[in-house]
Structures are given as structure tokens and as C-alpha cells.
Point group: C2
């Protein structure tokens, strides 16, 4: 299929992945966690492609992290057996599918409230108990119990359910909050110890804090997704350089209506509208001083003010997205290459799973 | 398949479409254009589902509008024969596919610059010439020639190519710019008349200006997509009420970490990050005073400050998205219903077409 095919011949917009950069990203992260003696559990939300998770496991990752039952099902079908779903499970349709999944893989889920624990307890039984981690809000302001005391209380509740096993703690931190995370974890571990509750796993997470995971000594594992491709937000976080970004969206300059305006054939349906704190919608590798100012669904309007050399109509350019995880979710297929030569085309298998 | 299935049983998040509201939206728009005596060409980008375009054509629409060759291919396969692609066509892969498409449907495309016209001219020949409209920038600041004089010049160039036929003018306006649009069109039509160039089509567009199309008397047709479902942006534009919004994203409240925070299981991979000028990420029908403040990929954090009655964990709520066209693009399937009873599940057939 790929023989002779070049990424320069592909219809744009298209999301391409540099195999060499991706391989380096996988091994650099794994080596870090090997060095600090911590389990690493890649989050597959970034790529949703079983073949890539196989590479992550081969490098030494302990298992995988999914965000949805439907993702976990795709990866279970592909042979993955150690799966953590970091989401509160609620609703009969979801719980039924979770139960079916639990019968065939080594599964862990999270909970941060009584309603979720009750729903899990009503679904699972002591002949095959489900491992449950207590999710802790260590400052990100999303899910999670608010205090170590609340974590203990929920752990006790889980421990009292015959169909559930309290398995440990988990957080998705805000960036650069290692001190807060460590304090929350350490205090909770202390409370659990006093209560004689075994805490097998202490799961820390996030790509923006990837190489600072050693600053949270209580953690036993780290979860991260974005690091496999990297993106503009990871460069901003100081975790990599632009040369370490494996994903590019290739687009074509289709119009130059005015001196300082270029229009690309990649809009919010290729790049997403996810600014992630940036002022514009991605970095153009060939014109880093240009600004992708606004997006329509299939158009990007680029501000060329202040550029000496400006792109011409018909020119193909490469965009490093602000946030890679939401870009792969828009494409049915990602194209992989080495130095521009297509090596494989992978189906983004776990995206768009509905009903 | 749908017998007995209720939208209340579906795993969330899920995008559902109320058939009755959609049918009304289709007929109300068509009746307006029938009344003002103007052709209506629905843009399929909003749904990407051939069965819905069939309903739009049955109501009286003249043909369909696509934004990409890959979309047009899916609709040609489904039997649609009158297709306008409102995008500059460039690149050998795209032009080859365009040529194949032209051999089997009545096709029109746009151009706003010489490079695109040259590329089209090199692809098509006089035995089966391609209809080309000149795209005009009437104030939206995206694609388009900047002046009536430039429109004439490009029309002349198209007319001089044996493989191309100058077919008319097109604009995608900024909202409430009917006066600017009419002035641009009228001046250009005048110039074309003086130059003896026939202008068969004058295509106006946009859902936010749908029911003001009569304020552009020079136009011969109108293109619009969003109107079929409507959304929060259409309510803001004064084109409809919330009761006229056919699409809802159903989500579940999965956490209530604090008094004023709820977390939903619908994030940027269900709602998109497209603010479209709003401060938050959609309207919760059951809690219109709540604010969907931030999105992660699979979480929405909702601010409940100031609400007397607050949602409980496990509750299912309905969200009217800011921008419906980007939401349907995230889901592989849309679920249709009447009063909650599922009537059909349609594949979003023309999304995610790559390579």
C-alpha cells in the first residue's frame, strides 16, 4: 500500500505522524519512568490506535489508560488485558458494558462519590470484584474528592462493598502542582494506613507534568497521553521542542485574498477550535511568525503581517497543533511516515464510538 | 432496530435529533425561499447524511452544497446529481478526484484567484467544461476577490479557458451585511453585463442571514446548513428559538465535587471547543442558568453558582450546542427520535474522509 507513496502527494488536510519522532518520544518517557522506578501507563486517548499502544507496551509500559468504556472495548478486542478507565461509571448502558468488559480483562475504574460507588456495587459481585481507585481533586478543579478525609471515607465505603476492591488513589493534577499532589497523596496514604486499608496503587498523571513525576514520591504510577506525539502545548510546558512533535497537519494555501491574508484548507474540522490557552490555532512550521488567526469549519485565515517571505497559493505547509489529542479524534485515519515516505495508514479505531 | 428504544436508555454522551423539529426547520426555510422566489441549496456540512439531504430536496431544494470533494463523492454515490463545492480546488490528488466526479454529476466549483483557475483549466477540457463561480469577499474576511473589478477580471479569465465556463458569483457574507453584499453583487453584475459575460447564478449564503436573504435582491440562490438543526448561535442571530433546536447532546452528571461544580461526561470530543463568540460551551436545557465553564476531552465542568435547584449525580441533561455543524462531525452516528422514541440511527457518512 505504502510503496512509493509520499506525504507530499496526499490530499490535504491530512494528519501525519513521523515514526522516528514518535519512537523517540515513547522511549524517552519510558526511560525516565524506568530510571525513577515507577510504572508508566500510557493514555490511549491521544491516538486511539491499538498498534501504537502495542509499541508503548513493548517499550515497557505497564498497561493502558482509557477514558471511555467504548475505547476500552476496542483495546480489549485488540488483546490488551490491563486497562484502567479513569472516568466515573454511571448509567445502566455503561455499567452493563463495563461488566462484560470486566469478565475478559484486568480492569480498574475510579470513583469520586457515593452514587458512583453504589452503582458499581450494584453491578459487580464478590466472585469477580472490581478494582476501584478513589479520584482526588488535587487542584485541577475537575473531578475528585476534595480532602484526604473524604478520600478515606470513600475508600472505606468501597472496601465495605463485596463486589468492589479499594485499590488505591488517583489524580489528574493541574500543571506544576507537584507539591499539592504529594501533600494530598501523603496525607491520604497516612489516613488509609491508620484505617488498615491497603493502597496498592497511587496514580499520578498528565503529560505537562511528565518529567516532573519524580517530585511526587508517593506515586506508584504515572499516566500520560500527549507525550507520544507532543504538540505546541507540550513545547510551552517545557517538556519538548518543536522538533519533538511527531504530528503535523499538512494543509494547502488555497487563497491569498490580500497582502497579509492567506487561507488554508484546514479549519476547525481538522485542527479543532481548542486554543488551550494560545491566541491562535497552531504553529506553521515553515512560517513560525504567521498566526492562524481564525478558523471556519474548512478554512483557516492566516495573518501574514510582518512576514518578509509569504506563502504562495498552492504551497503546502505543516501545522503543529495546539493540542494533538483532539486532532487525531477528528480524523478516521492517521498517516505514518519516515522522512516523508508513507510507512502505514492506521485507522483511529476507538474514536466516534456511539450507541 | 429502533422498536422500543428510547433516547433515555442510550449511553451518554450522544447527539440526538428531534425529527419533528428538523422537519419543521426544513419546511419553514424552504417556504421562505419559495415565497421570495429564490432557489435554495442546503449545505450538507451540517449533517453529512444523504438521507437528510433527500428530505431537503424533497421539500423543494434545488441541489446541494458541499465543502469538500470527499463529501461530494459520498453524496454522488447516494444519487445526488446537482452539487456545488464552495472551495478552491488545488493539488493534483484533489483535482483528479474532482475530474472523476464531474464525469458523473452536474458540478459547480468556485475560484477566487488565478492559480486555482489555471489548475482547473489544466484539468478540464471543452468536451465537458466545468462551471466555475467567482467567490467574492463581501466583508467576511475569508476567501474571495476584493472588488467588483477583480471579480470581472477573474470572470474574463475563466471565460477564456476552453475547459471552464464562467457560471456566476458567490459569497459567504458576514452576518447582517446585506447592504454590502447587494452593492458588491449589483456592481459586479453591471460590469459583467458591460463585458457581455453571462452571469447565470448569484449565490448568497449563510444560516445567520437566512431569513434576510430577500434583502439581497440580486441573488438567485441561497446556501445554508445550520438551519436544519439550529443551535445556540442561530437563537442569538434571531433566526429561531431554543424550541426550534433539533439537536441535543445528552450527557450525564457524573460528579458534584463541590456545591457549585457539576461535571458532565461530555467534553470537547462531544461538544467541540467552538465557542463561536459565546462565553461558555452550550446551553443546558434543564438548567439554563448553569454555565458550561470549561471542557476537557471527556469532561465538562459546569458552574452552578446562583442556581436554586442543582442537578444531582446520575441525572441526564440535554445540551443545545453553540455550533451544531462541528458537533455532528465528531459523532459517527446521529440518533433520531420522536418524543424520545428512537426512529432511526444514521451514519454521518461524509465525515472523516481521509486519504
Amino acid at each position: 500500500m505504502s510503496i512509493g507513496l509520499s506525504i507530499h502527494d496526499l490530499l490535504t488536510p491530512v494528519a501525519v505522524i513521523d515514526e522516528k519522532i514518535m519512537e523517540t518520544n515513547i522511549s524517552v518517557a519510558q526511560e525516565y519512568f524506568d530510571r525513577i522506578g515507577r510504572n508508566f501507563r500510557p493514555h490511549i486517548k491521544t491516538h486511539k490506535i491499538p498498534a501504537l499502544a502495542t509499541q508503548q507496551i513493548a517499550a515497557g509500559a505497564k498497561g493502558i489508560n482509557c477514558q471511555k468504556v467504548s475505547e476500552a472495548e476496542v483495546f480489549a478486542d485488540a488483546g490488551f488485558t490491563d486497562i484502567l478507565i479513569t472516568f466515573n461509571m454511571l448509567g445502566s448502558a455503561r455499567l452493563e458494558r463495563l461488566k462484560a468488559l470486566h469478565s475478559r480483562v484486568n480492569l480498574q475504574v475510579v470513583a469520586d462519590n457515593d452514587v458512583v460507588v453504589d452503582a458499581l456495587a450494584a453491578t459487580f459481585s464478590e466472585d469477580l470484584p472490581l478494582n476501584v481507585l478513589v479520584e482526588c481533586d488535587t487542584g485541577s478543579g475537575r473531578n475528585g474528592v476534595q480532602t484526604p478525609a473524604a478520600a478515606l471515607e470513600l475508600a472505606r465505603k468501597i472496601d465495605a462493598c463485596p463486589g468492589l476492591t479499594f485499590h488505591g488513589l488517583l489524580t489528574y493534577p493541574k500543571p506544576s502542582s507537584e507539591t499539592d499532589v504529594e501533600a494530598f497523596f501523603a496525607q491520604t496514604i497516612d489516613l488509609l494506613k491508620q484505617a488498615d486499608l491497603e493502597c496498592a496503587v497511587v496514580s499520578h498523571g498528565g503529560s505537562p507534568s511528565l518529567f516532573d513525576s519524580d517530585l511526587v514520591p508517593s506515586a506508584t504510577e504515572h499516566r500520560a497521553g500527549t507525550y507520544i506525539f507532543n504538540d505546541r502545548s507540550m513545547v510551552r510546558a517545557g517538556m519538548c521542542d518543536f522538533d519533538d512533535c511527531a504530528m503535523h497537519v499538512i494543509a494547502t494555501v488555497v487563497s491569498r485574498p490580500t497582502e497579509n491574508r492567506a487561507v488554508l484548507d484546514a479549519g476547525s474540522k481538522a485542527l479543532t477550535s481548542d486554543l488551550l490557552g494560545f491566541d491562535d490555532h497552531g504553529l506553521i512550521v515553515e512560517y513560525p511568525d504567521a498566526s492562524i488567526a481564525t478558523l471556519s469549519e474548512e478554512h483557516a485565515v492566516v495573518d501574514l503581517s510582518g512576514l518578509d517571505e509569504k506563502p504562495e497559493i498552492g504551497e503546502r505547509i505543516r501545522i503543529i497543533p495546539n493540542h494533538t489529542c483532539v486532532v487525531s479524534n477528528l480524523f478516521d485515519k492517521l498517516v505514518f511516515h519516515r522522512d516523508g515516505a508513507v510507512t502505514r495508514i492506521e485507522h483511529v479505531a476507538a474514536r466516534g464510538q456511539v450507541v
